[in-house]
């Protein structure tokens, strides 16, 4: 353990009034806006209190293992479906006899199709598997983009402070002044327009860019807050006293401490991005139809909800369990690091 545990934490002591202001403002805004439309990250901020602390060394609970298992299962299926290793059938082949039939449909099930078919008679099973690939690809791609840009900017803002911080924070706030779903919708619609009918950018890429851009200020602000508190710690001062350059301190001292907390945010953010993909699909700007994604499967067969609810419900349940697992894992990761931060 590099830092001395008995010195207390630099976050409370010696903060100038200006920083106090920033803290208050951040605290309030953070709770209000950071969450984005799914309202998940807010709870992160709230639940980081001592109550969510889990005892160190007690191991992961049953829930955590179930969440890990579910995520492993989904990722495995998605990758296998993408690679074409799964021999569950073609995701785009139509069987007229099976159209709209499934376990819950009015007409009754179709034999040979475990989960039934969609309105075009395409087998749900391979579509859901391939849809998992698309949804996860878009979500992780967007979050990665958000972290590369937003994370770096937030790290720099929190570490360097001063004018640069003011400018970057101002930029984040301006970007957040449009409701996130509306912003993403506008970006997708216009990127689609810009890339034309044939498309210079693939529909998945457009979604990744749009959701990623929306994520930049959200992630940036969280990273900034974390980076700000770590930058005031004693070991940073010690490193500076030894003559280390700012960039070295930022990368070698601050970044490794910021990363663990960011990992839990990333898990939550992927969940939010999966939901965002679904919402955008319902608004008509999702992945283009022949390619299945969980979102556009719901959007396409929304009109058949009353007659053949299985189509919508199957994709919905997958989204729900995946987001639930990601939230749960995010919570577990945060709780693990909370212990390190506040339990000394």
């Amino acid at each position: 353990m590099p830092e001395l545990p008995d010195t207390g934490f630099g976050t409370d002591a010696g903060t100038a009034p200006a920083q106090t202001e920033a803290f208050i403002a951040d605290e309030r805004r953070g709770r209000g806006n950071v969450a984005g439309d799914a309202g998940l990250l807010q709870v992160g901020a709230i639940e980081a209190g001592p109550e969510s602390k889990r005892r160190r060394g007690s191991g992961l609970g049953v829930g955590a293992w179930m969440a890990i298992g579910w995520m492993g299962f989904i990722v495995l299926i998605a990758v296998l479906a993408k690679l074409g290793i799964l021999t569950w059938g073609d995701a785009n082949e139509s069987f007229a006899a099976c159209a709209r039939r499934g376990p819950l449909a009015d007409e009754g099930g179709a034999s040979g199709f475990l989960l039934g078919c969609d309105s075009n008679g395409r087998d749900m099973l391979p579509r859901l598997a391939l849809g998992a690939w698309t949804s996860l690809l878009v979500a992780t791609g967007a979050v990665t983009l958000g972290f590369i840009i937003g994370g770096s900017l937030g790290l720099i803002a929190g570490f360097s402070g001063g004018k640069l911080d003011t400018v970057l924070t101002g930029m984040f706030n301006v970007l957040l002044s449009v409701p996130v779903i509306i912003m993403a919708l506008a970006l997708v619609a216009f990127l689609q327009g810009a890339s034309g009918e044939e498309g210079a950018l693939s529909p998945e890429m457009i979604l990744i860019i749009a959701i990623g851009v929306v994520a930049i200020p959200l992630i940036g602000r969280i990273t900034r807050a974390s980076s700000l508190t770590w930058a005031q710690r004693e070991f940073v001062l010690a490193s500076r006293a030894q003559g280390a350059k700012s960039r070295r301190i930022m990368i070698r001292e601050v970044l490794p401490n910021v990363l663990p907390a960011m990992f839990s945010i990333a898990l939550l953010a992927i969940g939010i991005a999966i939901v965002a993909e679904g919402a955008l699909a319902i608004l008509g700007v999702g992945v283009r139809p022949p390619t299945p994604s969980w979102g556009n499967m719901i959007a396409l067969d929304r009109g058949n909800l009353f007659k053949s609810p299985h189509i919508v419900f199957e994709a919905s349940m997958l989204i729900f369990f995946t987001v639930l697992s990601l939230n749960f894992l995010g919570d577990v990761v945060r709780a693990q690091f909370d212990v390190r931060e506040s339990g000394l």
Binding site: I24, G32, A35, V43, I182, A189, F190, P309
Partner: protein
């Protein structure tokens, strides 16, 4: 003095943000590559294109276009639908009150459930019922609002047939925007109950947890011990003594949550077929009416910025600690 300075500073910030937001929506259309008119109205005739080119002022320099755009916005000219020729401003006055009412109801429903639940879980913190409620809340957070909307319209709407799964009847607010729309409050309530509830569910979990954590802190204060020592009943302590000092964060978040509600409302309106801004946006995307879409985005963004400004402002007026921190 202190207050005027705070206000002045906030107003300057507001103006800057509004300039950036309008610039963003302005650039959305202008940055389309090639001839923007072919993208904006792909189904349009040459005559319609010529009109659009003139409307957008594409032959002028960019800064002049932006100045024109701002002037038009300030005069309430939001452009028009190129397929029908209808002014977008008319469509906004029709659909905006619908969305606003939906959001207000959702907010009330959310607080109606969240406040008692928050108080109860704080009072019973750590017990089995607290954990059960919290776990349910956690699960609800993972439930996307469109999934809930589809579930409710299937089970409550189609299977149980308790409530309609779509449609809309004018409520109390519509007549202020368009006097010809007479309110039909019964139908209005019936059609909006499911959507408002759907929108509220996601918020309930958030609000409940907020209130719970603030309330737990308040319940450890000395004045609560004092009240207990005086023999005041638990009910009265919780509702009369502890709720008010614990509710500041909750109310702020509820105010600042308007953005979340707008985003949620857009999706929910599409699913339940409610003719609010969300459905209009969906239709604009579908028929590739980029000018119309741009106007909806700017209207929502400006409203959102203004609401946030007023909530923030009210908050700093109400809470002296924030005011002082800001001023220093």
């Amino acid at each position: 003095m202190e207050l005027t300075r705070t206000v002045a500073k906030r107003v300057v910030q507001l103006v800057i943000v509004l300039l950036f937001v309008t610039m963003f929506t302005f650039l959305l259309i202008r940055l389309l590559p090639g001839d923007p008119t072919t993208t904006i109205i792909p189904f349009g005739t040459d005559a319609q294109r010529a009109v659009l080119r003139q409307d957008l002022g594409l032959d002028k320099p960019l800064y002049e276009q932006y100045a024109d755009y701002l002037t038009n916005l300030l005069q309430g000219d939001l452009g028009k639908q190129y397929n029908s020729g209808r002014p977008v401003a008319d469509l906004v006055t029709q659909s905006l009150p619908v969305s606003l009412q939906l959001m207000i109801y959702a907010q009330f429903i959310a607080l109606f459930f969240a406040i008692p639940l928050g108080i109860f879980t704080a009072y019973r913190a750590g017990t089995r019922s607290d954990k059960a409620i919290n776990t349910t809340g956690f699960a609800l957070l993972a439930l996307p609002n469109f999934v809930l909307a589809l579930f409710l319209s299937y089970f409550v709407g189609a299977q149980l047939k308790w409530l309609p799964t779509g449609g809309y009847a004018p409520g109390w607010m519509d007549q202020f925007f368009d006097s010809s729309r007479t309110p039909d409050l019964w139908e209005h309530a019936r059609t909006l109950l499911l959507p408002a509830f759907t929108l509220a569910v996601g918020q309930i979990a958030v609000y409940m947890r907020l209130l719970r954590s603030d309330m737990i802190a308040t319940l450890q204060e000395n004045f609560i011990t004092m009240a207990k020592a005086k023999g005041i009943s638990n009910q009265r302590i919780l509702w009369r003594h502890a709720l008010r000092p614990s509710s500041l964060t909750l109310l702020t978040v509820a105010g600042l949550n308007v953005g979340t509600l707008i985003g949620g409302a857009v999706v929910i309106e599409v699913i339940y077929g409610i003719p609010g801004m969300g459905l209009k946006i969906y239709q604009a995307v579908f028929s590739k009416e980029y000018v119309e879409l741009q106007s909806y985005v700017v209207v929502i963004a400006v409203l959102f910025v203004l609401v946030n400004f007023f909530v923030d402002f009210l908050y700093s007026v109400l809470d002296p600690r924030i005011r002082r921190a800001r001023a220093s």
